[in-house]
Symmetry: C2
């Protein structure tokens, strides 16, 4: 019998989950929930009902795991605790500073309902959290580094688009190669913000806009750009649509540490992703499998990736895992 997956929200993430579920033999898509008019939504999978989000609770016995595909700013803080009353849930909550609060809210709801909830699943937080945790466990005396990119930062792209005279914009975060090389070479430098990442912007201006002013407003924007070496390129809408609609991303987690006898060691984990949402949802779906199994064992409440043994993520039997992966 397949694990019955529900999708809450049919944006980039929801669509990615649909693809990842279709590719997994032990999972099946049971329903897609939406806040839009269900009749207006066309989904890819044939024969799967599209249901109003408001009616989700009625599906409590027909869904094994609900993957909540909302945004971290306003959707997930409300949705994940709410749906944990009715379903085992997975989310990709990625506002690092608010994870403890979100965890507490989801934990209370899931424990009260006897449900399993795994939050902050994806690649950062998610796979990068795992890389940091394992590296800290085996090299307790060391220094952590996380680099993001090359890839698009949605938040920085949005910030540029809010500037007067900007029609469209995309911002790429790029790790500084020299910094990576120093760490890989055994140094443990204290790096400033500027020394870790550069910011590369492609901006489509409105006709007649003051380009010098736009460039200056970007480069001096506090928090977003002023602490970085930022490059601004003005391009046409045609160039933008041709070259800058991709969703590639990735990054690097490194830990450089010393063991008891004085030997130095470097652990590096990296991701090179052609599609940020497709990879994120592939991670979400693996953790949905884990939530289903943990729920079956009566392990309720909120969890993060740090609380889940990797064996729970794989469809293969423990024997197959030991033969092929250990």
């Amino acid at each position: 019998m397949s694990i019955r997956i529900g999708i809450m929200g049919y944006g980039n993430l929801g669509k990615g989950v649909e693809l990842a579920v279709a590719a997994a033999e032990d999972l099946e898509l049971a329903a897609v929930f939406t806040r839009r008019d269900p009749a207006s939504l066309k989904i890819r999978t044939q024969g799967v009902p599209v249901v109003a989000a408001a009616d989700a609770a009625a599906w409590t016995d027909k869904i094994d795991v609900l993957i909540v595909c909302g945004g971290s700013a306003t959707d997930l803080p409300v949705q994940t605790p709410e749906y944990a009353k009715y379903f085992n849930v997975i989310d990709s909550f990625d506002t690092h500073a608010n994870i403890p609060t979100h965890f507490a809210n989801v934990d209370a709801a899931a424990k009260a309902a006897g449900k399993t909830a795994i939050i902050s699943v994806g690649w950062d937080p998610g796979m990068f959290s795992l890389a940091r945790a394992y590296a800290n466990a085996v090299l307790p005396n060391g220094t952590d580094y996380t680099f993001w990119g090359p890839g698009v930062s949605q938040g920085h792209s949005d910030a540029i688009r809010r500037i007067k005279g900007v029609k469209n914009a995309k911002q790429y975060t790029i790790p500084v190669q020299q910094a990576l090389d120093r760490i890989r070479g055994g140094e443990t430098p204290e790096l400033t913000t500027r020394e870790k990442h550069t910011r590369l912007c492609y901006v489509v201006p409105e006709e007649g806009a003051d380009l010098a002013r736009i460039e200056n407003e970007i480069k001096t924007m506090p928090n977003y750009f002023s602490d970085y070496d930022t490059t601004v390129n003005f391009i046409t809408e045609e160039e933008f649509n041709r070259d800058h609609t991709g969703m590639a991303h990735g990054g690097f987690v490194l830990r450089s540490g010393v063991t008891g006898g004085g030997a130095k060691h470097i652990i590096e984990y990296s991701l090179k992703l052609e599609s940020n949402p497709e990879f994120t949802t592939s991670v979400l779906v693996a953790y949905a499998r884990a939530a289903y199994r943990l729920s079956g064992e009566g392990s309720f409440g909120a969890k993060t990736v740090l609380d889940i043994a990797p064996a729970y993520l794989l469809p293969a039997s423990p024997e197959e895992q030991r033969s092929h992966l250990v």
Copy 2:
């Protein structure tokens, strides 16, 4: 109260465990067990008893976790199941093909005694197993690659030393950069043995030995060298002792995969280790912490790294882990 660690066997691994335990605030060394005459053994830690291995069973209530530091060929297949009768145990069993059998033997002993046993801990198997498992879980449609080195292969060094006229030898396994570059570039080539690693040998010949014959015997040795591009350098004993006594090692685990919408992704995990035994024992000690906690929860029997949630490896509280590592 600290977790009381016992060390079985005081070679490179045992000494590394001693250093790693000394560096951990929540662990203390309770005893070192040896098959040698205990009176002949000088250990680094003051005030810790050295005990005959034959008397280990009497320590069952004084040790929380015994780290078995024997070799995989003949020691561990006997020792780990034997000591799992009396202790929670950790070993670094690394003969991949025999892991299922070893697991079954240890599992039976540990379950019967109500003990927790974690086998095949280290970096391969160990951290590399984790890298393979997570990458397979999140990219089910993909290709795995494991490269070892640059580092010393003990087995290959031993094989050279068995050749007539060889006084001493060291063999370095070196990953082929071009192969790594192709995979990082997005290709998923089928690589032959020769295309993945080269073998670099430093040989101290006995006086008057036939160098051409030695070189030929190395390069044509089946299994060990004949399928590889092998380079043989003859050096003096002085050069050997000056340049070739290090224990550096490392390697790379890559998975290249495609998600449901056709996007390609590459996951890479790598280790660069100045001391193979020091890093291995640092991993063993982190899993000793996990074995102690799992034993306290009544989770008995044999386990591998795939069965252990990363949270169990860290001394920090779950709250601290969520704040700093997720």
